[in-house]
Amino acid sequence: MTTPLLSIRDLRVRIGDREVLQGINLDVPAGQVHAIMGPNGSGKSSLSHVLAGKPGYTVTGGSVLFKGQDLLALPAEERAREGMFLGFQYPVEIPGVNNAYLLRAALNAARRHRSEPEVDAFDFLALVKSRMQLMRMDESFLSRGVNEGFSGGEKKRNEILQMLVLEPSLAVLDETDSGLDIDALKVVAAGIQTLRAPDRAIVLVTHYQRLLDHVAPDQVHVLARGRIIKSGGPELALELERRGYDWLLDDAA
């Protein structure tokens, strides 16, 4: 068996005095989609943030290997350049900075990291426009400020657009489906499906089955009280949809 793209071993994390992750074990092989589900406050977002290197979390134990290297040893920007993408649950607004500018800077940062030439304005525009078509976004979007005045749905589409342009090897999407209407959900799901490839992995952090109807996961994990308490196939998500989390929490307690 080959090394998984992402391998988390006994990961323990604190915010202040509170232990938010209490020994996470998770392997995500290349080519797979894993869903992480769980009740509010179970540590789902913490896990996403820690993987991306957000400040404010203290790792007290365990390890994370990404493409065989120690992910936790890298600063946030290097994780990104190595191909680790976080789709934010609440994408922040950056007034006055246009979307195209940030996206091109991001793409070129990754390309420089791989010792590839920077993409010129012409090729960049062609690339981003083709992805925007896929995401059914209007071209005026490129000159708007990053997430500035965007609706919740537009922000989420923007996250997926960025992902499609950057083509990361690991995408962790933190509740990308929340706040989307049915049509937007389909568009976002189609975008995620586009990224599926044998050399890439996707981790979907979600509350609901409905995204998984469109993006079928290979594995489903239930995160509760900072631990993965159950893992299974796609049928686990359906069962959770039917029965909720309580039966699992009772078992785990």
Binding site: P55, E77, V97, A109, L166
Partner: protein, 482 residues
């Protein structure tokens, strides 16, 4: 008062009683300021009597005035008698002999700013015989301007070639008794720029101090006068993004703009004087009076400034909106880092009916810097239908800096509309992390966010200047957030 003065000739013949280390042939006066100092400067420049009289009146007024201390600035007292008020341009043998002798830090900054190689030498004060390209560029430039009837020359040249224009307009916007520093400047100014745009002429190019050759050292008391006659347009660029070498600590410039009926003046400044080192040692004190008067109907004056330099900045480019329907604008980015202090803003004085003004101020503080926006909007009784919109935003980088907003609003006409919006924010961790997560370096992320914050001002700058300003911002904030 001037009647008691001996004539210029007699004065010159008499020699100098106190203060001067050398005679009229010399190039520098000893420190100190009195009537003789003023006469010396005026004589050195071969000025007509009216100008000498004006200078002396200014000096008398200055003696009666007190240095203002209302600004939120702290600095050691300035000893005005310990400053030398005249120094002829330095000989070419002064200064570094070649770029190899120039402070490598300065060169590294030029590199980052993208200053062309041949320009680096000039800016660093390297003794060069000719200013390379600039000479030929400037010549073509002069031809085009004179064909259009535009006068653009050093102030001292204008005093000789167009004394009637100087006598008519000098001090009509900023009178010599306007304030302490303006009075000082009026008494001892050494040089600066003069611009006259004739009726109906749209100046064929942007006027930049950069091209004003033979004015490399205008000294610490610069005087600029721009007159836009009826229906004319001009855009003027002052300063340069590259740091200038300068040994003088105190700078007190005066800029007067005058727009007659239907005239438009756009005045853009990039100021990047030495701000002192990272411990707050050294640096320029910059006390500037800039004022524009929209004297004519439908006239328009627009100030755009990007201020990143100087240890102390005291500066309020203002508009007096006298003409009906006249428009005043002020767009400003003021960056303070390390121990810099800036107290800057604008005044919009609405006198005429239907006058309009817009103020957009962006203050950025980092390190231990203090950044104050001080603005005044006055609507006089006759200014029916006057409108003002003010937006001032402050951005803090780090926890030890300060941002302050001090708006004065005075409305004496019930039909006027005055709006004021203000915000203070820290550069947000969320924004930074978002950019890092997309692969940008910390430094690029900060520049991106700060650039976005300043965008509404930068887009008012002439195109090339805007790009330079963005780079300048990056250099100024280097290492601002650890």
């Amino acid at each position: 008062m001037s009647t008691q003065d001996p004539s210029l000739d007699a004065l010159l013949a008499r020699g100098y009683q106190h203060g001067f280390v050398t005679d009229i042939e010399s190039d520098t006066v000893a420190p100190g300021l009195d009537r003789d100092t003023v006469r010396f400067i005026s004589a050195k420049k071969g000025e007509p009597q009216f100008l000498l009289d004006w200078r002396l009146q200014a000096l008398d007024r200055w003696y009666e005035m007190k240095e203002p201390h209302w600004a939120k600035l702290q600095y050691k007292p300035i000893d005005y008698q310990d400053i030398s008020y005249y120094s002829a341009p330095k000989a070419k043998t002064d200064g570094p002999k070649s770029l190899a002798d120039v402070d490598p830090k300065l060169l590294a900054t030029y590199e980052k700013l993208g200053v062309p190689l041949h320009e680096r030498a000039r800016l660093a004060g390297v003794a060069v015989d000719a200013v390379f390209d600039s000479v030929s560029v400037a010549t073509t430039f002069k031809d085009r301007l004179s064909a259009a009837g535009v006068i653009f020359c050093p102030f001292s040249e204008a005093v000789h070639n167009h004394p009637e224009l100087i006598e008519r307009w000098l001090g009509t916007v900023v009178p010599y008794g306007d304030n302490y520093y303006a009075a000082l400047n009026s008494a001892v100014f050494t040089d600066g720029s003069f611009v006259y745009i004739p009726k109906g002429v749209r100046c064929p190019m942007e006027l930049s101090t950069y091209f004003r050759i033979n004015a490399a050292k205008t000294g610490q008391f610069e005087r600029t006068l721009i007159v836009a006659d009826e229906g004319s347009h001009v855009s003027y660029l002052e300063g340069c993004t590259a740091p200038m070498r300068d040994e003088n600590q105190l700078h007190a410039a005066v800029v007067e703009l005058l727009a007659l009926d239907d005239a438009q003046i756009k005045y853009s400044t990039v100021q990047n004087w030495y701000p002192g080192d990272e411990n707050g040692v050294g640096g320029i004190y910059n006390f500037v009076t800039k004022r524009g008067e929209c004297r004519g109907r439908n006239s328009r004056i627009s100030w755009t400034q990007v201020e990143t330099g100087s240890a102390i900045t005291w500066k309020y480019p203002s508009c007096v909106l006298r003409g009906e329907n006249s428009v005043g604008e002020f767009y400003s980015v003021a960056v303070t880092a390390n121990y810099q202090q800036a107290d800057t803003g604008t005044k919009m004085i609405h006198i005429g009916a239907n006058t309009r003004s817009t103020i957009v101020s962006k203050g950025i503080s980092a390190g231990h810097a203090q950044n104050t926006y001080r603005g005044q909007v006055s609507v006089m009784p006759g200014a029916h239908g006057a409108r003002n919109f003010t937006q001032c935003d402050s951005l803090l980088l780090g926890g030890q800096c300060g941002a302050h907003t001090v708006p004065y609003i005075e409305v004496k006409n019930p039909q006027a509309t005055v709006e004021h919006e203000a915000s203070t924010s820290r550069i947000s961790e969320e924004q930074l992390f978002y950019c890092l997560q997309r692969g940008l370096s910390q430094e690029d992320a900060i520049n991106l966010i700060v650039g976005g914050f300043c965008k509404t001002v930068f887009r008012e700058l002439p195109m090339e200047f805007a790009v330079e300003a963005q780079n300048l911002l990056a250099v100024s904030l280097e290492g601002a957030v650890g």
